[in-house]
């Protein structure tokens, strides 16, 4: 009892909490990052010979890494735009309906689907021999397998985007519904109406801005998550260009042992960029959530 009490009191709590914070949150990232940096310069690594800029030069001169970065960012952005639009639409138009117990439970169901399952399902329905292809064949839209368009393993990452949306949109729908209720957006909407605004104005100038503003941080976080996604692009992506995490892991596992450091170079660059974006998100925040 005494120990617990002292743990909760302000003074010694400082040391334990601070210690835990460092060991569990800061140290792992710092250590992993340092290791990656060292490996990227060839300082560690059995197949490496010592400090060299060689790997950095190689990665920065070929276009593959930049292409992958742009590709990942684009896919992430597109997926987010679609997801948020869908979620906003459903929230604003149907928020009353979602108060129904059954519908509200159904809205939570997608949270039980992880990336692996979503990707597997994506292959099952979107591939050339998948469910939709068979449907279109039966209806007569396509004559055979090859007539069906490329939806997965394609250059526009359609399969990846659809799967991302199916995983992200439900979450944002729930989030927006929640904000809608908490911030009493309904009341605000009525207020706007009574002040003379019509439906369109109150949606675009009141409801949407509030929903988006309150979820700004989460939106930025999800943008970052999608960029670094692994399982879904691994299954639904194509060999080139590849999304970042898939590219990094592939490089780290490649056959040519002397080139593994290049994977670490990309990992370091990726970490720095993500770190900067995170810092940027935070520095813009003047307000701390109570």
């Amino acid at each position: 009892m005494k120990i617990l009490e002292s743990m909760l009191s302000k003074n010694s709590e400082n040391k334990i909490s601070l210690g835990l914070f460092f060991v569990l949150a800061i140290l792992p990232v710092a250590a992993a990052f340092s290791y990656a940096v060292l490996y990227s310069f060839g300082v560690v690594g059995i197949a490496n010979e010592g400090f060299t800029f060689r790997f950095w030069k190689e990665v920065l001169s070929t276009g593959e890494f930049i292409q992958s970065f742009g590709y990942s960012a684009a896919i992430s952005a597109v997926s987010m735009v679609i997801s948020i639009s869908l979620a906003l639409y459903l929230t604003i138009i149907f928020h009353k309906d979602f108060e129904n117990k059954i519908l509200s439970f159904i809205a939570y169901l997608p949270l039980s689907l992880p990336g692996v399952v979503a990707a597997f399902f994506g292959v099952q329905v979107l591939s050339k021999s998948g469910f939709f292809s068979r449907l279109s064949y039966k209806i007569g839209w396509t004559e055979d397998l090859s007539g069906f368009p490329d939806l997965i393993n394609d250059q526009y990452a359609i399969g990846i985007i659809i799967t991302f949306v199916s995983v992200v949109a439900p979450f944002f729908l729930l989030l927006f519904l929640n904000i809608y209720e908490n911030e009493k957006v309904d009341e605000l909407h009525k207020l706007a109406n009574s002040l003379g605004a019509d439906r369109r104005q109150s949606i675009w100038k009141v409801e949407i801005p509030i929903l988006l503003h309150k979820s700004k941080k989460l939106i930025s976080l999800y943008l970052i998550f999608l960029m670094g996604a692994y399982e879904i692009p691994l299954i639904l992506g194509r060999e080139a260009p590849q999304m970042l995490s898939v590219l990094i892991v592939r490089d780290l596992k490649q056959y040519d042992l002397t080139k593994i450091s290049e994977g670490y170079v990309i990992a370091v660059i990726y970490s720095i960029v993500i770190g900067m974006i995170t810092y940027f998100i935070f520095s813009r925040q003047k307000q701390v959530y109570a």
Binding site: A25, S104, P114, V116, F131, L221, A267
Partner: protein, 256 residues
């Protein structure tokens, strides 16, 4: 308008339920090829095989449960405790920003860079190594999650308790904890899911020795037989579905 609403909502429900039904259907099938819309075989032979052969799905299920439970328990409790300190700290802005880093880095890349240290700590390829690795991702989440809890309101409750003559322990047990109950449950649920669904990091630190259900699912998916893949997916979805059913009203109490 009402008809349009009904149709849209129906479409929404169908789109949500379709994956579940399809995967379940697929797990009960065999010999289902293009262009058939219904399988040639429909029955329970797949499910029987899984539980009788030594495919290890049963053990993986239990392993995953154990790992996820531990990760959720430690991350939630430690996160709750440490976030209090951070939230009251003058430097809380910087500290919570730092807490985001492990959370935003792709776990798989993080894992690949941590291999050396896990080897040194002799935790590589062990169950506890995987638990630790997953905690590195779940703990920051819990930290961030609880920062919205500790604020002026709670602080004033704590001060109120002190003013009324209660000691720290009483304040914690009788005031703070009950107030936090809802959030603790959500956090437990969320961190459980983070661990339960984890693949990339687990496959790297566990090096295939620690067979969680997601690892098994991936194995089946890579093998040519997708009926078993669907079956594994069904197993993977069950606990989250169950948890959602239990926790529904708690999931979205506070916004991050």
């Amino acid at each position: 308008m009402p008809k349009f609403r009904k149709v849209t909502l129906l479409l929404y429900v169908v789109m949500i339920m379709f994956p579940f039904f399809y995967l379940f259907l697929l797990s009960l099938s065999a010999e289902w090829k293009f262009p058939d819309l219904t399988p040639n075989y429909f029955g329970i032979k797949n499910w029987q095989q899984i539980f009788s052969s030594q495919s290890g799905l049963g053990t993986s299920f239990i392993t995953s449960l154990f790992i996820s439970f531990f990760v959720a328990l430690t991350s939630t409790s430690l996160g709750f405790y440490v976030s209090r300190y951070i939230s009251y700290h003058p430097r809380r802005h910087t500290m919570s920003m730092l807490a985001y880093f492990p959370y935003v880095i792709a776990p798989v890349v993080f894992g690949a860079c941590m291999i050396y240290f896990f080897l040194k700590m002799r935790l590589f390829g062990t169950l506890y190594g995987v638990i630790l690795a997953q905690s590195f991702v779940a703990f920051p989440y819990a930290l961030i999650f609880f920062t919205s809890f500790w604020g002026e309101k709670i602080q004033s409750y704590e001060q109120l308790v002190a003013t009324l003559g209660g000691n720290v322990m009483q304040g914690f047990l009788k005031v703070t904890l009950p107030l936090a109950k809802g959030m603790l449950m959500i956090c437990f649920f969320q961190t459980f899911l983070i661990s339960w669904f984890e693949y990339g990091l687990t496959s790297i630190i566990g090096v295939g020795k620690v067979e969680t259900l997601t690892i098994k699912v991936f194995l089946f998916i890579k093998e040519s037989n997708f009926y078993f893949g669907a079956l594994s997916c069904c197993l993977l979805i069950l606990p989250p579905l169950f948890l959602i059913y239990l926790n529904k009203r708690y999931v979205f109490n506070k916004i991050l």
